[in-house]
């Protein structure tokens, strides 16, 4: 089987850590109203890792991403990027949202140039144009985001995050609102961009196929309060076959993760009924 269980917090990985989460948990509210969103998590992302997190809805996977992005502070533990504490959002961690985060009052080009301009880069427009070409939208530079389709808007979001040349990309279900064809096309393009640039990626999704297709490591989370249930090393992202998802090995891996997720979805449902 091409899924290998792996300890994401093993000493060999810790020695090469790009991003390290040590005992990170998150709780919203205080006292009796407190909601535990995330159980303590230990994990390490090494440079060039493409880590996909799958889990039942409401399991805290977006909370995990928000912590890494610096939008939220952990209730316990710490997050280290290159050995330094994360104490807020930073442009070395580019974020791509599911949808609706583009600036509708700016043209596509201005959206992508926003990051470089915020850093006082004089070549902001040239750089933005370069990344628009990379995502195939050079011809739409002067349009406004609301004039584009959902898939094109996500490409703008990706170009905008890349234009700051971040070391890490954080993607919060970026393709969840797209149709199947658009999603698959963008997945291939993201894979190509990732291979070319070697960025470290943390990707939240509820699609098992997406995670297997893209990731070097797949993480399965438990129901809320989310914890890491299992972690695997995956091989399919190395394949150049766009139809790798139709191979028996892929189906077997998918079946395995489906089984794990099913347990958690059932648990989540019991929680809902009980509360």
């Amino acid at each position: 089987m091409s899924l290998q269980p792996i300890d994401l917090y093993g000493p060999a990985r810790r020695a090469r850590a790009k991003l390290a989460l040590e005992n990170v948990s998150k709780q919203f509210g205080e006292g009796a109203d407190a909601v535990r969103a995330l159980s303590p998590v230990d994990m390490v992302l090494c440079p060039g890792d493409f880590v996909c997190i799958v889990g039942p809805s409401g399991c805290g996977k977006s909370t995990l991403l928000n912590l890494v992005a610096g939008f939220e502070r952990p209730s316990t533990g710490r997050l280290l990027l290159d050995g330094r504490d994360i104490d807020g959002p930073g442009s070395e961690r580019g974020v791509v949202f599911q949808q609706g985060a583009l600036f509708n009052w700016m043209t596509v080009l201005e959206n992508v140039a926003f990051g470089p301009r915020a850093h006082g880069n004089r070549q902001a427009r040239e750089r933005a144009m370069h990344y628009l070409e990379l995502v195939g939208l050079a011809g739409f530079a002067q349009r406004y985001p609301y004039e584009l389709s959902g898939g094109m808007q996500q490409r703008v979001g990706i170009a905008r995050a890349l234009a700051n040349e971040p070391e890490m990309l954080l993607m919060d279900e970026p393709f969840a609102a797209l149709d199947q064809q658009n999603r698959e096309l963008l997945q291939e393009e993201i894979k190509a961009i990732w291979r070319r640039t070697g960025k470290t990626v943390l990707w939240i999704t509820h699609s098992i196929e997406e995670s297997l297709f893209l990731a070097t490591h797949v993480l399965v989370m438990t129901a809320r309060p989310g914890a890491i249930k299992s972690a695997f090393q995956a091989e399919f992202s190395r394949s150049d076959d766009p139809f790798v998802s139709t191979t028996p090995a892929f189906a077997e891996a998918k079946r395995h993760i489906l089984g794990l997720l099913r347990e958690e979805s059932l648990a989540a449902r019991h929680q809902e009924i009980a509360s």
Partner: protein
């Protein structure tokens, strides 16, 4: 975002978008017909084409009489001042108050939107005085600020300021958190986020408040010119009614209606140019 027009509301919106946000030919015809029948009703009530008037002309003068009264006012003015002068005074009172509210109310509202401290300080004076009918303050305004222009302008300010500042505050607070987070993770400073994200994202909400304020402002103009003045279009209409000069009253009313309507049109035009993305998520 790429939702298909499946629900009735989505289909309705799609139809509006297809028509360029405007209305269909049929709707325009109905609109014109409605306007025309209003004028026609006025003509019939006041006697048209030799028919006897249904209503005494002293109560409701015919459109022609109103037109004549308007020409007479243009020629000779009213009570010692030209019509243009009365109009100018009213415009001055209105715009002095309106522009002050824009220049102070919008920035203050924006700041209240981003800063909890600003909100804590300025929310009580604005929210607690908001339910007071501002017209009731007129006698106090005159006692406090005299019978000059200041008391009239401040009365209009008292009515418009809460509308404009609170709508600006709500607009900022309604900006999607994702957009702010996106800007933060792109490395934007607080100042850049305020200028390039929060302000533009708030513009649609600010425009809504300004348009409401325009309507209220014209109404408050009438209140401001009720006492302690002998100038202004509203004062002219109010004074003429004391002498049952209903044709002059109607000239005043129509001038104020035209003022309100053209201000709203101008605001809508500006809104369309400045906030092209409004409602197009």
């Amino acid at each position: 975002m790429n939702a298909k027009a499946e629900t009735p509301i989505a289909a309705f919106r799609a139809r509006r978008v297809r028509a360029g946000g405007g209305s269909s030919r049929r709707e325009r015809m109905l609109y014109g017909g409605s306007c025309l029948s209003l004028v026609l009703a006025w003509l019939v009530l006041t006697g048209v084409a030799g028919l006897p008037p249904v209503v005494d002309p002293a109560f409701l003068p015919s459109p022609l009489d109103v037109g004549r009264a308007f020409m007479r006012l243009v020629d000779t003015g009213y009570q010692g001042h030209s019509l243009l002068y009365h109009f100018g005074i009213s415009l001055f009172r209105f715009f002095a108050a309106f522009l002050f509210c824009l220049a102070v109310g919008i920035p203050l509202g924006l700041l209240m939107g981003v800063s909890g401290a600003m909100r804590a300080v300025f929310d009580p004076p604005i929210e607690l005085t908001r339910p007071i009918p501002k017209l009731a303050l007129l006698p106090l305004m005159i006692v406090w600020f005299g019978i000059g222009e200041l008391s009239k302008i401040l009365l209009i300010v008292a009515a418009l300021f809460p509308i404009i500042s609170i709508s600006a505050m709500q607009a900022v607070r309604g900006v999607s958190i994702k957009r702010i987070q996106a800007a933060q993770s792109l490395g934007a400073s607080r100042a850049i986020i305020f200028r390039r994200v929060l302000i533009p994202a708030s513009l649609p909400g600010i425009f809504t408040g300004v348009r409401v304020a325009l309507g209220v402002g014209v109404t408050m103009l009438v209140g401001a010119e009720m006492v302690a003045t002998s100038e202004g279009i509203a004062w002219m209409a109010l004074t003429a009614s004391d002498f049952v000069q209903t044709d002059i009253v109607l000239v005043g009313v129509l001038i104020m209606a035209a003022l309100g309507y053209s201000l709203d049109l101008a605001c809508r035009y500006l809104e369309k140019r400045a906030v092209h993305w409004s409602g197009r998520e």
